[in-house]
């Protein structure tokens, strides 16, 4: 019997690289390089895959004098980077998941201390022929800011339609809790449905705004479609999204962030560089957009009292201790 002794350099047949893999060797190497890249670097943001602005129907809106000197953040920043915890706590989660929310038809329930209460269609609340554009500074409690061109109507105009009575000292807002469409609400990150509130004189201030659009277009879902509050002198979380319930109340209403941590999030939540969040400074903010690249990444500026809207709102708080009533 012939015993074949293979020389030491031979390798077994099954160790040979399959021909298909050999033909693809360059792609495979490129794949490894890419995998190495993801290991070493954070994953790219969601900005690349966002629907373009042109996908959203345009709105007709009158220009107004509400326009800061700072340039606006780009569409990609406004619609690709924000907080909407109902869709997840990541900054790109809203852009990825909020499309699930059904926003039409939409009704808003008006309740509490007012002459006219009941359920109203969005179109009965908002006169889409009387929209205006307001370019506001938006300051998040996390110490970043953007300048955003909103489209909508003054909040006071809408609230007055329901003739709030003399007991209506506050107004509370609720975000729609669409359990099946909001994966982030499976876990109680906050008290759902999300709720916010204003003192009635804050709500009637000309600066308080109800937005139905941004950048001259219908609001993308991640930005709070179809109806959201914008109160630019307060931290961003006061500007509640996708409102489906408004309640006029006699007593100061509950707000989700205050219920979650009263020490960190007060009822008023006015932008105030002199009162720090217990965990970080509020003295300055990172400016998101309009600059990009390296300079954009490092752009910061000092935070202004009432986010620069002191002229319009400071009188609402005369004599109040803003540290205590933060």
């Amino acid at each position: 019997m012939l015993i074949r002794r293979p020389p030491g350099y031979t390798i077994k047949e099954n160790a040979v690289t399959p021909r298909a893999a050999w033909l693809r060797r360059r792609e495979i190497l490129a794949g490894f390089a890419a995998a190495g890249g993801t290991l070493a670097l954070p994953r790219a943001g969601a900005t690349k895959s966002l629907p373009a602005m042109s996908n959203y129907p345009p709105l007709k809106a009158a220009k107004t004098a509400y326009s800061p000197s700072n340039p606006a953040a780009p569409w990609e920043a406004v619609t690709g980077y924000n907080n909407y915890y109902e869709f997840g706590t990541g900054k790109s989660d809203p852009a990825k998941k909020a499309h699930r929310l059904t926003t039409a038809p939409w009704t808003v329930s008006i309740e509490g201390e007012a002459e006219k209460t009941g359920t109203f269609a969005l179109e009965d609340l908002i006169d889409f022929n009387a929209l205006e554009e307001r370019i506001y500074r938006h300051r998040c409690v996390e110490a970043w800011s953007m300048v955003i061109p909103w489209v909508g109507v003054p909040l006071a105009q809408v609230l007055q339609k329901f003739a709030p009575n003399s007991r209506a000292r506050y107004v509370q807002f609720f975000t729609k809790w669409a359990r099946k469409e909001m994966p982030g609400t499976l876990w109680p990150v906050l008290k759902w449905p999300y709720r916010e509130g204003l003192r009635i004189d804050e709500a009637m201030n000309p600066l308080a705004f109800l937005a139905v659009g941004v950048y001259g277009r219908i609001l993308p879902n991640q930005n709070g479609a179809p109806l959201r509050l914008v109160v630019p002198w307060k931290y961003g979380y006061k500007s509640i999204k996708s409102i489906d319930r408004i309640v006029f109340t006699q007593d100061q209403p509950e707000t989700s962030w205050n219920m979650s941590n009263a020490r960190e999030y007060g009822f008023y939540s006015n932008v105030n560089p002199h009162v720090d969040h217990p965990r970080w400074s509020q003295a300055s903010e990172r400016v998101i957009g309009p600059q990009t690249g390296f300079r954009g990444a490092l752009a910061r500026r000092d935070t202004q009292m009432f986010n620069g809207y002191a002229d319009a709102v400071a009188s609402l708080y005369t004599g109040m201790d803003l540290k205590k009533n933060h």
Binding site: L41, P42, R43, A44, G45, A46, T47, A73, P74, E76, A77, G80, Y81, Y85, T89, K91, S92, E142, W144, W187, P188, V189, L190, W257, S260, N261, P278, R279, W280, R286, I288, G289, T292, G293, F294, G296, A297, L298
Partner: protein
Amino acid sequence: MLLTGQANDLGVNPIETTNRFLGDTALRVLLITLAITPVRDITGYVPLTRFRRMAGLFAFFYVCAHLSSYLGLDLFFSLAKLWKDIVKRTYITLGMSAFALLLPLALTSTNAAIRRLGPKRWTQLHALIYPAAILAVIHHIFMAKGFQLMPLIHALILAFLLGWRMVKWLRKNTHPGA
């Protein structure tokens, strides 16, 4: 990111993205390091132990990168600001303490250091990874807004990994000779 300037690949807030990613990775690699011993015990695959020290150094590498990005990109290398943060903000205090506990472990990670300290003292010193990991997990819990799930998952994994060691230690000490 710093070299290419392609900051927009990291979203519109690249500093936050970088810092979060490095922190998450540091914590996860630390947990992987702590998982090596239990996995070895369960599978009986002893050679795994050889990777433990290397995994620990990987974790320390990400800890350093996370600390540098906070110090450099967030604070612009202001040591005064760093000190203010350490004193004032609990989660920074915890994070910096975890770093301080891990630093001697990284410094004594060479074979020569094991010889110099002796295996017993070296092992005792390297038990500092346990309090460091606990501090790191609390650091993550404290910096999250609201009641978030991910920091709790990390805490649960750590509790299991430390619990495993506790049970092993108890068994060894309640049944001498077993």
